[in-house]
């Protein structure tokens, strides 16, 4: 392997990617590889059990390529594909804006085109690997239940990853040319988030409008939809056919995807370097605020809370990332609107969704306030007790949650006061739990790493998710007037204690 060759660069990229992944999984601590391996094994087994529970009933060896089957498979493919494109756009944007080794690479006597061709290929490869890993439990269950033909689904996943990477590179470079490097960073990340959200939300909205349910599967199986889609011999179903083992379709799908991906590498690797230089040279210009005089009289706690809200309000990227989570509340809001006056049945669906969303939103806000503090030394050297600082930050988070969810709770009171009270309590419990977990796993970072906060600690991410899910379950059961809500609530509290025990900080 000669220095500067394509394989040499590929080897370099793979080594960096592997170390990044290892560092992400072990949170940068040595000697945790065994623990991570055990946790991964448990996760893989758990994922297969869940996949079996959800998928096994739908498939057996008699499953044949019919229109309803194509609709469900294609719907699932499009759903995953939109997420992959979003993820790939994140990777491309990161490659543009993270300076790290760009100066070194571009100042070296190696053709930049070659380097970026390898880098784009590496991005595509990582998207494919991630997609294959996440899809493997479902595909494996399909193979066990439906036969070896379903091995084709792995080929479809590869094709999805390759095309997602190609589209992401093309979209990001198009944005560069259209709006310039300064705006692309923000716009590309918003576009990525919207691409990820729009298909899921669109399916849910369609499901609500057609059958008053949040279930996407109900919509995908509806007779109305099946009547509207193309006939079984249409090219549109070739990815679904490929997934079910049709070798001709699989070869065509893979061939088209590799062509698109190869084309993207050939077309864009030359420009990638120029755009990367432009992006890394972008300096933020200081916007002028309205000139005012007179310092306001505020307590230290209020000063801290106000600072958190001001910083959030002035950062359009953070606002977009935060509000994107609220986007997922649109379908339940629609359901609430349609269900108004039709009794309390809708509450069992709505309340847990609201509680779950509040936990997720609070986790993000808490990360910004606690780990994303840009001047930690300044705050720590202020003459105020540490507990007051923490309390003020928690209040800033919970205040934001209260503001975001108050309209939903107010609307719920029109259906059921009890339901609204349960929702309010659940929202606050989930938000408080997520905030507490962020506090346990606080790790100083700059705010621009907000999107990657989940990678800082896998345990924190899972704990936050389990806590929110448990509170959502408790709220759903409480709305149904059963004392069983105590069980998921106890699980949520247990998760909190476990997080406290695993916290790397002395408390």
């Amino acid at each position: 392997m000669s220095a500067g060759s394509l394989t040499w660069f590929a080897n370099h990229e793979i080594r960096l990617a592997w170390r990044d992944w290892l560092s992400m999984m072990t949170a940068g601590r040595r000697g945790r590889e065994k623990v991570v391996a055990i946790a991964l094994a448990i996760f893989v087994v758990g994922a297969h059990v869940m996949a079996w529970y959800f998928v096994a009933g739908y498939v057996d060896e008699r499953t044949v390529p019919t229109k309803p089957a194509f609709v469900v498979i294609t719907g699932s493919i499009l759903l995953s594909w939109s997420l992959l494109i979003s993820q790939a756009m994140e990777s491309v944007t990161r490659a543009f804006y993270a300076r790290s080794d760009l100066d070194l690479i571009l100042s070296s006597p190696v053709a930049a085109r070659k380097v970026f061709a390898v880098r784009i290929a590496a991005m595509g490869f990582s998207v494919v690997v991630m997609a294959a890993l996440l899809a493997s439990p479902v595909i494996n269950v399909l193979i066990v239940r439906g036969g070896a033909g379903w091995l084709g689904a792995y080929g479809v996943v590869v094709a999805m990853g390759a095309t997602a990477a190609a589209i992401a590179v093309a979209l990001t470079i198009a944005l560069f040319r259209l709006i310039g490097p300064k705006r692309t960073r923000l716009v590309a990340q918003i576009v990525a988030a919207v691409i990820a959200a729009v298909f899921i939300i669109g399916l849910q909205v369609a499901a609500i409008l057609s059958s008053d349910t949040l279930s996407r599967m109900v919509f995908l199986k509806s007779e109305t939809l099946i009547a509207l889609v193309p006939e079984v011999d249409s090219l549109f179903w070739w990815p679904a056919r490929a997934a079910m083992g049709d070798l001709t379709a699989l070869a065509a799908v893979l061939g088209a995807s590799f062509l698109a991906f190869g084309g993207a590498i050939v077309l864009f690797s030359g420009r990638f370097g120029h755009h990367a230089i432009a992006a890394s040279s972008v300096a933020a210009s200081g916007k002028r605020e309205v000139q005012r005089s007179g310092f306001r009289r505020r307590s230290a706690a209020r000063t801290l809370r106000q600072k958190e809200w001001t910083l959030l309000a002035r950062d359009p990227w953070l606002v977009s990332q935060t509000l994107m989570q609220i986007l997922y509340l649109l379908p339940p809001a629609l359901l609430l609107w349609r269900g108004y006056g039709e009794g309390t049945g809708v509450l069992v669906v709505l309340v847990p969704v609201l509680v779950m969303a509040s936990g997720q939103l609070a986790g993000g806000l808490a990360w910004l306030a606690i780990s994303g503090e840009d001047a930690p030394d300044l705050v720590a050297t202020a003459p105020i007790p540490r507990r007051m600082i923490i309390r003020a930050k928690v209040e800033a988070v919970l205040g934001g949650i209260a503001l975001a969810f108050a309209p939903f709770v107010a609307a719920l009171t029109l259906i059921s006061v009890r339901g609204a009270v349960v929702a309010a309590l659940g929202i606050m419990a989930a938000a408080a739990g997520a905030t507490q977990i962020q506090f346990f796993f606080r790790k100083q970072a700059t705010r621009r790493y907000f999107r990657h906060r989940q990678t800082a600690s896998r345990f924190a991410t899972f704990a936050e998710a389990f806590s929110s899910i448990s509170w959502a379950g408790a709220a759903a059961l409480a709305v149904g007037s059963t004392w069983f809500w105590l069980a998921p609530a106890a699980i949520a509290i247990a998760v909190l204690f476990a997080a406290r025990a695993m916290s790397p900080h002395k408390l």
Binding site: A284, R296, K307, D374, D377, L378, P385
Partner: protein
């Protein structure tokens, strides 16, 4: 007046270990109204010492008294009289210098009218007034450091601790920062500063302390330090003296 009240900083037996001892039983006294420069090779324990004094790190052992206040027993009171400026400016990109100083004033519980007058004076001295209502995100390193310094001084601290405050500053900004620090010392405040720019220490400091392997190995005026090295030549620079003193120390092995 007792010895405790004439000392701006009194450290006794201070110790802190990470993977290896970073500070090992350090004793140090800085007089009130003094410009004290703390020098040492990389990894000597300078920053760790100052971070413990500023209340950013808990020590493993030892005592710290700031203007007579036991900083470990009463950290909140000690923080009222101390300012901390690090080499990386601690500011918020999305706030303007005016808002940043208002924020710091709120944290220190200052009277708003008085704080605003001080803030405007500081911004004027540091040449920040024309940019007072611009967000800091577009500022150069020098401008950011000046905003951080204004934030450190707005609450009128009696002890100002600076860790490499001139790193990355252009000549003009460095001169402004040095001028402000000299004025504070002239006004009776105490400045304790680490720096790798020995010329700055030589020209500005009343006394210099040299740390190696987490201990104070020499201390005094430039003449006193020269005497300690046995190099009585008046033309020898602080750099010569520093290198001679550090060279006598055994190299610490990393754990």
């Amino acid at each position: 007046m007792t010895a405790a009240t004439t000392s701006a900083l009194e450290i006794r037996g201070l110790a802190k270990s990470f993977d290896r001892p970073a500070v090992a039983g350090l004793d140090l006294t800085v007089r009130a109204g003094e410009f004290y420069s703390l020098l040492g090779p990389n990894g000597a324990g300078k920053t760790t010492t100052l971070r413990m004094v500023a209340g950013l790190l808990p020590p493993d052992a030892g005592t710290i008294r700031i203007c007579g206040i036991n900083a470990l027993r009463d950290p909140v009171e000690a923080k009222r009289v101390v300012a901390w400026v690090s080499d990386e400016p601690m500011i918020y990109d999305k706030l303007t210098p005016f808002e940043y100083l208002e924020f710091v004033s709120g944290l220190w519980g200052l009277n708003p009218s008085l704080a605003e007058i001080r803030a405007n004076d500081l911004m004027d001295w540091l040449g920040l007034l024309p940019h007072a209502h611009e967000r800091c995100e577009g500022f150069s390193k020098g401008m950011r450091q000046k905003v951080a310094l204004a934030g450190a001084l707005v609450h009128a601290p009696r002890v100002i601790i600076l860790d490499e405050p001139l790193t990355g500053l252009d000549a003009g900004s460095a001169r402004q920062v040095k001028r402000v620090l000299r004025e504070r010392v002239a006004g009776g405040d105490t400045v304790i500063m680490t720096t790798h720019i020995l010329e700055v220490a030589e020209r500005m400091a009343d006394r210099v302390g040299i740390i190696a392997n987490g201990r104070l190995i020499a201390e005094g005026t430039l003449d006193e330090l020269r005497a300690q090295t046995g190099n009585g030549e008046s033309h020898s620079s602080l750099e010569d003296t520093f290198l001679a003193l550090v060279a006598e120390q055994p190299q610490q092995q990393a754990a």
